[in-house]
C-alpha cells in the first residue's frame, strides 16, 4: 500500500499523575501521535507483567508505563518504583522473546506536566515507528 506504518502504542497511565497529564495536554490543546492509546489504571504499581505481555500479544507494537514522579510523587507512596523494577525485568524478558526491550518504556511525570507527556509519547511513538511492526500474530478475538 505504501502507506506509512502506523504503530499501536498502549500507554498505561496512572490515574493520579500520568492520566491527569494526558488530560491537561488535551486541555492545553497539545497534540501527540494518535497511535498512543491510553489505558487507565489506579497506580502504575497495579500493572502486572501479564498486562504488558498481553498488550504485546494483542497487537501492541510498543508499551508505555507512565507513573508519578520519583522521590515521593506517587500518590500511593512507591507504586511507581515497584512498577519501574517490573519494567526493568520485563525489558530483559522482551529481549529474550525477540520483541526487544526498546518497545517497553517507563516514564515518570506529574499531573502538571502535559508538555512532558507530549514529549515522551511523541518520542516513543517515533521510536516504534522506526522499529516497525513487532511482527506478532494478532490474537484472534
Amino acid at each position: 500500500m505504501g502507506s506509512k506504518f502506523e504503530p499501536k502504542v498502549v500507554a498505561f497511565c496512572c490515574w493520579w499523575c500520568a492520566y491527569g497529564a494526558a488530560d491537561l495536554a488535551g486541555i492545553s490543546k497539545l497534540t501527540y501521535p494518535a497511535s498512543v492509546r491510553i489505558v487507565r489504571v489506579p497506580c502504575s504499581g497495579r500493572i502486572d507483567a501479564l498486562h504488558i505481555l498481553k498488550a504485546f500479544r494483542a497487537g501492541a507494537d510498543g508499551v508505555i508505563v507512565a507513573g508519578c514522579l520519583k522521590d515521593g510523587g506517587c500518590h500511593y507512596v512507591d507504586g511507581n518504583m515497584k512498577a519501574e523494577r517490573r519494567v526493568k525485568a520485563l525489558k530483559k524478558a522482551l529481549d529474550s522473546v525477540g520483541i526487544g526491550s526498546e518497545r517497553l518504556e517507563m516514564y515518570f511525570l506529574s499531573a502538571g506536566m502535559p508538555d512532558k507527556f507530549v514529549e515522551y509519547t511523541t518520542e516513543f511513538a517515533r521510536r516504534i515507528e522506526q522499529l516497525g511492526p513487532v511482527g506478532l500474530e494478532v490474537k484472534q478475538a
Binding site: G45, D48, A49, L50, L53, K54, F56, R57, K82, R85, R86, K88, A89, K92, A93, L94, D95, S96, V97, G98, I99, G135, L136, E137, K139
Partner: protein
C-alpha cells in the same frame, strides 16, 4: 459399563506408571468397566469407535501425535487430559523458543562419524510442542508431573460415576509444612546449596519456589524433601500464567533474577511445565 481408552502422545509414560501403580485399586476400578485400548497394558492396536472415556497422556509434538489425538477425540465422549504434558505442554515445551529446523539439525545433524537426518516414513515434527487442549476440546484435566495416584484414582472414580473430578483450588504452600516468617531475603539462591534452615520457607530463603503459584494436592512432597517446588501441577486457576505471576512477585520483592539470568535460564524455573501455555511463549508466535 464404560469403555475406557488411554492414549499416550509425546511424554515419558509417567502417567501410565501412576495408573499402573494404582494396583489393586486399578483392577477394582476397571472391574465393572472395560479397558478397550491401552497400548502399554493391552494388545489392542486401535481405539474403538465409539469409546466412552479416553485418558490422554503427553503433548502434541509430531503430526502423528496430532492425528492420533484428533482421531481419539472424534471417537470419544469424555476426554480427559492427564499429566502436565497433556495439560500445559510439559517440560518439552521449553524447546518452543527454539527453531524446529535448528533443533532437528543439531539433534541429528553434526554427528560423528556418519551423518544423515531421519527421513522416510517418520512423522513430521510440528513447529512447537502443544498441550492437548490447543488441538482438541478437553472435558477434564488432571495436572501433575506425574499426577498424584490418589488424585488420579478419585478423579477417575468421579468421572466413571458421572460426576466432576474435584481438584484442589489451593496452592502448594497451603500444604507445605515449612515456616514462613513474612520476611523475604533479597538474595537469589540456587540449589547448589541445600537450605541452611530446613524448617524455613524456601521462597523466603531466596530459592525460586513455585509453591505460591502452583495447584495444591501433592502434599508439598518436594518441599518436605527440602527441594523447591517446580510448579509441575500448573496454576490453581488455569486461566493464570503461573510463571508471570512469580516473575511479578519476585521482581518487586527486589529479587529480579530475570534481570540477572536470561529468559532461557529462568523459563525453566518459572515455566518448567507450563511454558507452552505461557504468555511469553505466545509472544514467540511471529507472523
Amino acid at each position: 459399563m464404560t469403555t475406557i481408552a488411554t492414549l499416550s502422545l509425546s511424554g515419558d509414560a509417567g502417567c501410565h506408571v501412576i495408573l499402573a501403580s494404582l494396583h489393586e485399586k486399578l483392577i477394582k476400578l476397571l472391574e465393572p468397566h472395560e479397558l478397550v485400548f491401552c497400548q502399554i497394558l493391552k494388545d489392542s492396536r486401535t481405539i474403538p469407535d465409539p469409546v466412552d472415556l479416553t485418558l490422554v497422556e503427553g503433548s502434541v509434538r509430531t503430526e502423528y501425535d496430532r492425528e492420533r489425538l484428533r482421531e481419539a477425540r472424534a471417537r470419544t465422549k469424555t476426554f480427559v487430559a492427564i499429566g502436565s504434558c497433556a495439560c500445559f505442554g510439559g517440560i518439552q515445551s521449553l524447546c518452543n523458543v527454539l527453531d524446529r529446523q535448528e533443533l532437528m539439525r543439531e539433534t541429528y545433524g553434526a554427528m560423528a562419524p556418519e551423518t544423515s537426518l531421519p527421513r522416510g516414513d517418520l512423522p513430521e515434527v510440528l513447529p512447537k510442542n502443544l498441550p492437548v487442549h490447543e488441538v482438541v476440546n478437553v472435558d477434564f484435566s488432571i495436572p501433575g508431573c506425574p499426577p498424584e495416584s490418589d488424585e488420579v484414582a478419585s478423579c477417575l472414580q468421579a468421572i466413571l460415576s458421572g460426576g466432576t473430578p474435584q481438584l484442589s483450588l489451593k496452592n502448594v504452600c497451603d500444604e507445605c509444612k515449612k515456616e514462613r516468617k513474612g520476611k523475604l531475603e533479597a538474595k537469589i539462591r540456587r540449589l547448589t546449596e541445600r537450605p541452611t534452615d530446613l524448617d524455613r520457607c524456601l521462597l523466603e530463603l531466596g530459592y525460586v519456589c513455585m509453591g505460591p503459584a502452583t495447584r495444591a494436592g501433592c502434599q508439598a512432597k518436594c518441599l518436605a524433601a527440602n527441594v523447591p517446588c517446580e510448579g509441575c501441577r500448573g496454576p490453581a486457576d488455569q486461566k493464570y500464567d503461573q510463571g508471570v505471576a512469580m516473575l511479578d512477585a519476585l521482581t518487586s520483592a527486589g529479587r529480579d533474577a530475570i534481570s540477572v539470568y536470561s529468559l532461557a535460564t529462568m523459563s525453566a524455573m518459572y515455566h518448567r511445565y507450563s511454558f507452552a501455555t505461557s504468555i511469553l511463549a505466545k509472544l514467540f508466535e511471529r507472523k
